[in-house]
Point group: C2
Chain length 235, copies 2
């Protein structure tokens, strides 16, 4: 099965987006009558067929509306400082979505060497990963913000962690995760968090945790975090 | 700290390999007297200094020999069918070594679309990942073999698993892993294992397992397998 993505899809205006129209009509060369599955990224799956192929605005017939999927009973929010190599960040986003994640944020830290993020590219990678792994929910992606801005937002996740390597190793993340919660995990840049950032996070009830005995790259640490939450919830 | 790799390093002949000589002398431009840490990939760490820089055969003074590291009390062996994209396989090898793995094998399955593997490149990626993550053990890497050849080898790992998605989902890998064992996990190609292959593996006491509710790419499944063994052993 191949999945198309049309955010805010409506039965009253059943059109593919310009990107998906191009993909369906120009790349896949689908004709009128071809079956096509699509999601709105909000838990809905539609079985449609092409009514009127058009390279920018393909009109569909909706043949079937699946029972909406409910969101997962956990909420995983990964907050990561972009790596120097943009490919490594894109890779993380792809894999995190495959495994299962609800929200990804990007923060600029004191020790961040990388000051920008190609957010449009990250969004494209995310959409492609969602379609490839047949997910019906598009994770929320937040553009790059400063650590300070992040700390000033209200925290809705009940279990908050910061991966940090002080002299004395903190407890393992896995030993602190309570099942069926909402989680937020902060992963620092190549040069780690500053002590000011760690203290700030701890004042906001982020618990310092370790992700194991290995020295991990930023994107590996972030991915392991995502998998730890999923694994400990049997997902 | 930057780590150099000299397999079979000997105190009697303290030389860098041609690759590492080139890297030290030509790329990093290290001179006589420069300190240099190296491992033999068998648990040993040497603190040395350059005695005689040479672009092919740099001679060293060994200043300190660390107490040899003992191998981990677990043994993780991942067996994977190469993906169509060689980058995805290289990525898996890099990440698996960062997280912790003892052995990686590559098998050619009935449904494999990819029939070759650039094994030299895989070895280079592995060495680079070992150095980058400051590991003192080089995992064993086995060149591509057929599934049949693999099945005819003796199995030394005590807990053996095959990730497989039949109609009725098998138990989760995490629910079957006993701590402090040696493990072997088979991950199939994009087209999954054939039923003949699954039966053959089961006859050799490979237990069918699931890696979760998500549809995962081959390399993601393999990496999640590696992390599951590590996590459940507190590593």
């Amino acid at each position: 099965m191949q999945l198309f993505y049309v955010p805010n899809f409506s039965l009253d205006e059943p059109y593919l987006t310009p990107e998906e129209s191009h993909h369906a009509v120009k790349v896949l060369r689908l004709k009128a009558g071809a079956e096509l599955h699509l999601t709105d990224g909000a838990g809905n799956l539609y079985t449609t067929e092409i009514a009127e192929p058009h390279f920018k605005k393909t009109r569909l017939f909706v043949n079937q509306v699946a029972k909406p999927q409910t969101p997962r009973p956990v909420y995983v929010h990964l907050v990561v400082a972009p790596t120097k190599s943009p490919e490594r960040m894109e890779w993380f986003v792809e894999k995190a979505i495959e495994i299962g994640v609800e929200e990804i944020s990007f923060v600029l830290c004191e020790h961040s060497e990388k000051k920008q993020l190609n957010f449009e590219r990250i969004q494209r990678v995310a959409i492609s990963a969602m379609k490839q792994s047949l997910k019906l929910f598009m994770p929320r992606l937040n553009p790059l913000m400063t650590f300070a801005d992040f700390m000033h937002k209200p925290f809705v996740q009940s279990q908050r962690f910061i991966a940090y390597l002080p002299e004395k190793a903190p407890p393992m993340l896995a030993s602190r995760v309570k099942p069926m919660q909402s989680y937020c995990l902060l992963i620092g840049p190549e040069g780690d968090f500053s002590s000011k950032e760690v203290n700030w996070a701890m004042a906001n009830e982020f618990q310092p945790v370790s992700l194991g005995q290995s020295r991990l790259r930023t994107e590996t640490a972030a991915l392991i975090g995502v998998h730890t939450f999923n694994l400990l919830n049997g997902m």
